[in-house]
């Protein structure tokens, strides 16, 4: 089967606008978290959207549209699609959808009455609004939909896009994730779950970690089959070699302590790629900085990779941008692909104090060169795990 390659990437994150900006700043150890949250302060919707488009889109859709524009340009897709529009799909993950719109509509209902609730409330807050906006803006007429598996949404969207190409349902897929959940309501709800960091510092895998820091942003990737992509002269950034998806079937918020469900997803991704633990050069961890996740994930990595787990670097982008929830898996896939291209393991910012049993190489200090066997392409697993026990793992390879 023709492999599925990534020909373009785009991202808007707390580290700035642009996928390369994300990659360069993370590798340089820059932290995009301010005052305990990862906001996209550099993002101005007016740079990407007309007045009409902007007011027809919740922030999570605005972020997705901007990331998509960058990805399509990066893939050298002009105004004319390189494929039959009916054969181009779009899958976008979001955990929450348009929560700011929902809150505003609720305020209007309470303060001004039901007859003044905006007719735009539903089209803005629905979780498929991002996929719909991208489909309309670029004339994509193949399958388009959203996937929602909390913090695994972005990775599940990419996995769905991969399968769409492998089954022949589409010839190209725009896939990614987007989230804009910095509303006080979401914060309060996560605080009530005791999931958020009280220090406001995202310290994955560190003994001092005290929960995740909320972030917002989006990432979009252009997926095509290698043959047609090369035929049209596309530059290939990397390959999605495999995808594994499992469920813990255990608890609505807590991961299985033994990490088995997560490990099974990692094993499934490797198996899907026809590869083994020894082929993995780097793990881009889910690494949320919650006490439970990082312990369970460490267990999972050891279960899935055995001895190899102790030989390779494992790092978390969430140390630099916080947890982008439904966008995280897509943003991390972009960051991982660019790190593989550069053959580096970017750092887990601020990691310095070890906790018992959390004994992997979490790349504290700074970015390091990846050790890749002679003649091979750098390969990574990118982990995403969501509330509800949804596990999605991507196996990514440098071009």
């Amino acid at each position: 089967m023709d492999s599925v390659v990534v020909t373009g990437v785009g991202a808007v994150t707390p580290l700035g606008v642009g996928a390369r900006t994300l990659s360069e700043r993370w590798s340089a150890g820059v932290c995009g978290i301010r005052d305990g949250e990862g906001a996209c302060v550099d993002f101005d919707p007016g740079d990407f959207l007309s007045v009409k488009e902007a007011r027809r889109a919740d922030r999570f859709t605005q972020l997705a549209i901007a990331a998509c524009g960058e990805a399509l340009e990066d893939a050298s897709w002009g105004d004319e699609l390189p494929y039959d529009p009916r054969r181009v799909g779009c899958v976008l993950g979001t955990g929450i959808g348009g929560i700011a719109t929902l809150v505003n509509a609720q305020d209007t209902l309470r303060e001004r009455g039901p007859e003044l609730v905006s007719p735009l409330a539903v089209p803005l807050m629905m979780s498929n609004a991002g996929a719909a906006a991208i489909s309309m803006r670029h004339g994509l007429r193949g399958p388009s939909y959203s996937v929602s598996t909390a913090c695994a949404s972005g990775a599940h969207a990419l996995g769905s896009g991969l399968r769409m190409l492998q089954t022949g349902e589409a010839d190209a897929v725009i896939a990614g994730g987007s989230e804009a959940g910095l509303a006080p309501l979401a914060r309060a709800a996560f605080v009530a779950l005791d999931a958020l960091s009280s220090s406001g510092i995202s310290r994955p895998f560190d003994a001092r970690r005290d929960g995740f820091v909320m972030g917002e942003g989006a990432a979009v990737l252009v997926l095509e089959r290698r043959g047609p992509a090369e035929e049209r002269g596309a530059r290939v950034l990397g390959t999605i070699r495999g995808y594994g998806s499992t469920s813990d079937a255990y608890h609505v918020t807590a991961p299985r302590e033994d990490g088995q469900g997560q490990a099974d997803a990692m094993t499934a991704a490797l198996s899907d790629a026809g590869l083994a633990a020894d082929d993995v050069d780097y793990v881009n961890a889910h690494g949320t900085a919650t006490p439970l996740n990082d312990r369970a994930e460490t267990q999972a990595i050891k279960l899935a990779l055995g001895e190899r787990a102790h030989q390779i670097p494992v790092s978390s982008l969430k140390s630099a941008i916080g947890h982008l929830l439904g966008a995280a898996g897509a943003v991390e896939a972009v960051a991982t692909l660019l790190a593989l291209r550069d053959r580096i393991a970017p750092p887990t910012l601020g990691f310095s104090e070890r906790e018992e049993d959390l004994d992997l190489d979490y790349v504290g200090g700074g970015a390091r060169p990846l050790q890749v066997a002679e003649g091979r392409k750098a390969l990574a697993l990118s982990n995403s795990f969501g509330f509800g026990g949804h596990n999605a793992v991507l196996c990514l390879e440098a071009a």
Partner: protein, 81 residues
């Protein structure tokens, strides 16, 4: 409601609304069609709410559906106040 509402007042509310919906101010005139201004059914639903709040008139959906130009919108509202 009040007969004190003038067509000029209505026109101002309509024009301001259309501008806020994203229509190019240079293109807005009484004769301009909603299609030219890229104003669709969702915009008209919003305009109906604004008019209801401002002038306390309820526009009927079937009447709004017949609105083709800026002038049509202003006249429909003027006839309803």
């Amino acid at each position: 409601m009040s007969t004190a509402v003038t067509e000029d007042q209505i026109e101002k509310v309509v024009v301001d609304s259309l501008e806020s919906f994203g229509a190019d101010p240079d293109d807005i005139s009484r004769d301009a069609t909603l299609e030219q201004l890229d104003i669709d059914s969702l915009d008209l639903a919003e305009l109906s709410q604004i008019v209801q709040e401002r002038f306390d008139v309820e526009l009927k959906g079937s009447d709004v559906a017949d609105v083709k130009t800026v002038d049509d919108a202003i006249k429909l509202i003027a006839a309803s106040v």
